[in-house]
Symmetry: C2
Subunit: 247 residues, 2 copies
């Protein structure tokens, strides 16, 4: 065997290595990392050493490997979500102060809502949306708000993808959800993500009325201020959109 037995490139290997870190764990044993990433121990060792030399990984004593600070720095300096985050943060903070609940900001990636930012209070209800976490479009208010305001083509691709499990029924259910969300101007899911919580999200629209992001809150089921809540979110979303377009 020689250069790459499995036919994948160095880039593939590096990605496998970086992806091998589980979501919650911060440090991994070299041998475990090798196994998780499906790389021979020797190869993993060499790559880790090289990556660590650049600070992309941090190789501690005893083969303990953790993500490196420089990688974080590199990515967060130039992240594609940076402008969005900057535009949104002040508004998110305002929302959070007024409603005193979890606020989150998401973008659409594939058929998932990818959460870009989230503010949560010590006392507020559980919020499954983690930063850099994903939730499928149809199980999150953020996802619905995002998908409801995409162009027809993307929506139908999404719905097609969906038809597999049991034909047309599921597709129609989601279609109705999206349609309602579109006409209401906001998405809501009661007790879907978590039995005791209520997710509400509004789209952040670009000048062509496409959703570039979604702004949402997670509130307890007993929360009754829906009439005040949705307009507040919509106002904030407009503010975010304005700052995005001005910049």
């Amino acid at each position: 065997m020689a250069n790459s037995a499995s036919g994948d490139s160095v880039v593939d290997r590096i990605v496998r290595l970086l992806s091998a870190f589980p979501e919650d764990v911060s440090a991994l044993q070299l041998s475990e990392l090798a196994e998780r990433s499906g790389l021979p121990l020797t190869t993993a060792h060499r790559l880790v050493r090289q990556l660590a030399a650049h600070g992309l990984l941090d190789a501690g004593p005893g083969g303990l490997v953790r993500p490196g600070l420089r990688l974080w720095e590199l990515v967060n300096r130039t992240a594609p979500t940076l402008a969005l985050r900057q535009a949104a943060m002040p508004f998110m903070e305002d929302i959070q102060q007024v409603l005193n609940q979890n606020v989150n900001l998401a973008v659409l990636d594939g058929w998932d809502a990818l959460f870009v930012e989230r503010l949560s209070r010590l006392g507020s209800v559980a919020n499954r949306a983690r930063v850099a976490g994903r939730m499928p479009v149809h199980t999150s208010s953020a996802g619905l708000a995002l998908m409801a305001h995409q162009d027809r083509l993307l929506q139908s691709q999404y719905l097609d993808q969906f038809a597999d499990p049991d034909g047309k029924v599921a597709t129609d259910a989601v279609r109705v959800l999206l349609s309602e969300t579109f006409h209401q101007g906001f998405a809501q899911l009661k007790g879907v993500v978590d039995p005791d919580t209520w997710g509400i999200a509004v789209p952040v629209l670009d000048p062509r009325q496409r959703a570039v992001a979604s702004l949402g809150v997670v509130v307890p089921l007993r929360e009754m201020r829906l009439q005040a809540l949705v307009p507040a979110l919509q106002t904030a979303a407009r503010g975010i959109a304005r700052r995005l377009n001005d910049a």
Copy 2:
């Protein structure tokens, strides 16, 4: 010429590619990216294509390259600062609400303070500390707060490094700054970063009294509530430390 003319590995090349993105620009022309990273156009093209296949970069039409969402996701799922950020955010928000000023959270990396998080108000004073931005230890209150609470060895290494430009004078000045910061329990810099602002930072200490992070604010020079401000920061810092250790 064949495999690597310049004697650097694929990892080196990838790092050069990723580092080539300027701080503020979100998209780069392929040719410019190649030049910035010092790679032959062909090589840059191939690597970009490979990285884009994994979503680490996003190759738009016409050779427009931007950082990819998946890279951001990957890094922010497993970032070494994740636990710190989670522990600190609620406290940072409280501070911000009460003082209505910029709040920032930094860690020490080399001889720099690396800013991990920052909350800023639309109306508050300018704040040079950007997320994923750096400032040298001796020109930022965050840096001073961090360095003042490190072990002797690291401090003396830092001060040595410093002696180069003009011998002992500069070293002594910084030493005094660090000593003051240590005994006061907080760092302050008036008008150093920005002529009209005042930076104040306190350390977040681990059980061995070492600074793992710093919590700071940037306020206008006229701000007079120092007596209330420092204790508020210190209380928050203790709260963060407690949550870090409990978890």
